[in-house]
Symmetry: C2
Amino acid sequence: MEEEVVLTFNIKKGDGTMGFEKAWLNYYKSDNLAMRDYFTVVTYNKDDSIVKSAVLELTTAAKELFSIDIESSLCDMKSDVDKTRKGIHFQIGDNKDLENEGYRISLADEMLLIEAYTSNGILYGTFDLIRSTILGADVHSFNRTIFPKNPLRMLNHWDNMDGSIERGYSGNSFFFEHGEVIVNERTKAYARLVSSVGINAVVINNVNVRGTATNLITNRYIDKLKQIGEIFASYGIKLYLSLNFAAPMELGGLTSADPLDEEVRLWWKKEVQLLFKEIPSFGGFLVKADSEGRPGPFTYQRTHAEGANMLAEAVKPYGGLIIWRCFVYNCKQDWRDMKTDRARASFDNFQSLDGDFAENVILQVKNGPMDFQVREPISPLFGGMKKTNLMLEVQIAQEYTGQQRHVCYLIPMFKEILKFRTYCKEENDTVFDIVSGNTYGNKNAGMAAVANTGNDDNWTGHDLAAANLYGYGRLSFDPDLTSEEIAKEWITLTFGMKEHVIDYISKILMMSWPAYEKYTSPLGIGWMVNPSHHYGPNVDGYEYDRWGTYHKADHTAIGVDRTKNGTGYTTQYHQPNQELYGTPETCPEELLLFFHRIPYTYQLKTGKTLIQHIYDSHFEGVEDVEEMVKLWEELKGKLEEVPYHRVLHRLQEQLEHSKEWRDVICSYFYRKTAIGDKKGRELY
Amino acid sequence: MEEEVVLTFNIKKGDGTMGFEKAWLNYYKSDNLAMRDYFTVVTYNKDDSIVKSAVLELTTAAKELFSIDIESSLCDMKSDVDKTRKGIHFQIGDNKDLENEGYRISLADEMLLIEAYTSNGILYGTFDLIRSTILGADVHSFNRTIFPKNPLRMLNHWDNMDGSIERGYSGNSFFFEHGEVIVNERTKAYARLVSSVGINAVVINNVNVRGTATNLITNRYIDKLKQIGEIFASYGIKLYLSLNFAAPMELGGLTSADPLDEEVRLWWKKEVQLLFKEIPSFGGFLVKADSEGRPGPFTYQRTHAEGANMLAEAVKPYGGLIIWRCFVYNCKQDWRDMKTDRARASFDNFQSLDGDFAENVILQVKNGPMDFQVREPISPLFGGMKKTNLMLEVQIAQEYTGQQRHVCYLIPMFKEILKFRTYCKEENDTVFDIVSGNTYGNKNAGMAAVANTGNDDNWTGHDLAAANLYGYGRLSFDPDLTSEEIAKEWITLTFGMKEHVIDYISKILMMSWPAYEKYTSPLGIGWMVNPSHHYGPNVDGYEYDRWGTYHKADHTAIGVDRTKNGTGYTTQYHQPNQELYGTPETCPEELLLFFHRIPYTYQLKTGKTLIQHIYDSHFEGVEDVEEMVKLWEELKGKLEEVPYHRVLHRLQEQLEHSKEWRDVICSYFYRKTAIGDKKGRELY
């Protein structure tokens, strides 16, 4: 029997210079005529590359929104600024109160004034002004002082040097191809796009650093990296690289990568000089160590702190950061081993090191204890570490949430994550508080997302997946924005102000995460996917495997007891969370099967049995997708043909595939439990 | 989560010219001194390339067995043959009674006489003489007239032009590399090896003909193919190629491949000339059409007969054959479709065409209705077609039987297949009778095996897998040989005559197929494997997939009713088989779950319940492997170090992996049925 993987991931499409669309920077003509007159002249008191970008953005916007060729000029004497005429002025450097990338937009007499302490502030203020103009803002509404709420707002690209993207669903890399770094018009378009939503740090290569990617830190690729660095810098973005912990051996010919070995430490100190010296905007390194087969300090019986601090010392002279991932667990577990619980692993590996990490190390923690499932509890490392810089890692590449073939708007999930109270303190104790630095006053903190872009024309494969890229940026900048606000912004910017468009697409987006959750694995248990590629249902796909992701479903019950009577995972939380999760009665039901082993006949708060809930939610999930398809079809004629059909095609696939999910999951449990559906729907 | 396929198939090992071992042609010094004197001189009355090979084989054997430089000379006058002196004489061409590759070995005065009508007969007689000598034969035992029992004794290599081998478990191809045909010392070594067991036809390329492989029939590769053809010819082997039914479009630029289109027919007639003209020993083509996505006559609403006959007409002038595979089924079945039964497909697609195929077409039928599972019933096409040439296709590449990492000696299975009575006639009705041509007098008939070789040093990855290659050849030559006889021959030739060696390795081989069957999927149901690569247990791996291979296990029962009350598959058999398979009580229990849906509490003939049988057989299977490991370890010091450790290493892997099989299968059913093991062994 001959089988081919039917899904084609990472389809080769020639070189990275192919066509690309403008996504949400696709400005339509604006009828916000009251704002028109301000887009006639821009003056600025400093002309570094970032300010130049801001001026360029205003120039582009003026042209595309109002068909105006804006006049721009340097005006470095404050007294020379003409406040009597409508126009825009950038004032940089005076206001120490606006440091940390803040900006203020205000109306000063006739002039719109954008003030900032840093050039980044000016750029963000400019994008705000343009966005607000498109969204119909009145000029008198511009009296706002805004700070990005997270110091680091980062994207992690899992791009490989052969051009493939690990968990990439939008074509190939636009950073790498055939083992080389590539720089072209798309690089700049990318920088504009992500900077417009406030991204200020980008890791361009996969955390799994192998082969030639190990050499990215050497002078082999430095010319191209410099060019990327310059483009990024002009949009206020720092360039980061993922590194290979074993580089001293693989590149340096040393016999060890032991972080306490003097030779190794010296090697790193010498090696990192180049990047910082050649690329002024180089930010530092992301490290996946002792994780899924990657080398790390464990080899030398050293701690993660010893590993990270060695690198931190090397980059410290340049103000560099080491971002160290906490995704460390036993990926060779015997499924017969009932004692090991992967959910415990990050906390067990890192919590005891609290306080041991250098000031310029940030631990990057995935939102949940497992791996980007559609529903997980919050990682107990948030709130579990008080003397350590932490970042939140989320994934907008929809590895487990439909792979950009299904719509799954993740911003509502990210909102829930950020709002989660850890109870590590009496107040300011949410995940947002922790990763923004509020809780413990960390300067080095923030958010990172695994990116969902590729060299597809529309950047994200599914047009609606761009809402996650846009939304992640906006949310990391301002976590107080609601999911609906973000959705409406993105829809308007992308598709224009058209009847029903905002309303229907908003509905689709807002329905999509709950729908995906309903028709896939139930109540927080996760992992009922096909192994390796992770697309499509397979209830036992990981059940007898080595990844520590077991549901243990038998004839009568399903789930693993993770309370203190079970694996003890719940004890990693502070009270009252520990208690909340500790009994089925108090546990939030969407996480019931994550924390507890539950009989199929258990009665949920709805009065339904667990098994009936499984059946009902799966049928509901498919109905939701049917509704989404209908909503989209209503937009025929109101959108451009290409994106309309591109999305329609994927929605139709999603509908078929949601039925596949429904039928596999329901049939699996029907066959196992011998309990039929009360509503008599067809099970197989 | 990052996953890599842990198994490494088709490991690249540089070019195909690497080292290789002699396998069963690895002659040790012989102490059969009585035979020694005959290996001093060989005369022959014809000196074509095949006879030269036979002389060369004797020369090699004389040297290696007895350290003798044999004298050889042409002696074309019968009267010149010196019968008074010990020696060997080849007499070719006189005995019409020995046509069809037969030979006679006899003692004529002092001389050993090998007579044949064809040169192939001489070659086979020579290999017989050498083999018998090594096995200790007395010279007076040589009074035998032998005919190969199957006209075609074929190997099908699923080798791709990039050097990979589909379902290859012994390294890469030695026929292709980097898109080119390769010819080197190994080509000749291969020809010797397979000719020594009577193979007379070889298809060198994969039945799935794609990309550049389509061009194999053009002049692009003709020089290399000619060289292979010459090497093969000198060992009595005809070269065959797999072809792409869509070649008239892909190569010829035609708009159709319709077999009734005159232009298409003409194109094929012209195209095939080259191979037959350039390669005198070219035999014809193997065709996989309308199967698993391959093109075929269905596209044009033509029958398989119309498709095959078009090609048959094109090759007829050259005496060529078209071998047409019957592996045709719906590989995009909806698992929710309860009516379609893949087991029925070959019969349903072909039986009604009985009598429609040209004389030089042979239908190649897999042994079972599914696909090379460890246990299947016999395909009902055997006995179902009375006016059509049929060949049996088996697989010695162990795709579903341990992939040459587990020992699984398949000859006992092949014996059962060949002995199966179809009841298509009152006598001479076995599968052997049909495919040898006995039943209906077919001239074009025989056996084919999917080969298990690659460019590994030992040819077959697992040293003991060579027993399947050897055994397949010997069995296709002489189906009356017992599995034990074949095993003993192979062991002696490969490892030499040493204490315990024959005994212990025989035991291992003879235990291996039953053991594999015990610890994998139970009672003929098959398919409980990981999708795609097919290694390792996964009970639901294919359950909700599109391949038509479902067990439908629920809480109370397992299996699909394939009787006349179910899918009707049993009605494809003649009586009394139809009746035999028709009830659980009469059905052979090793096939019980293939034909019936059975409750776990059903009592088997042993008195055990089905569920207890599943538990017991799985624990027994592992115990058998433990025994196999022990037997092998007893041979330490009696075998050469390299093969000893190579096999030991694989046996140890097999032991661990058989436990994995046992525990996954048993736990799956324990969880589903809620019925524990009566013996209280640990389930998970």
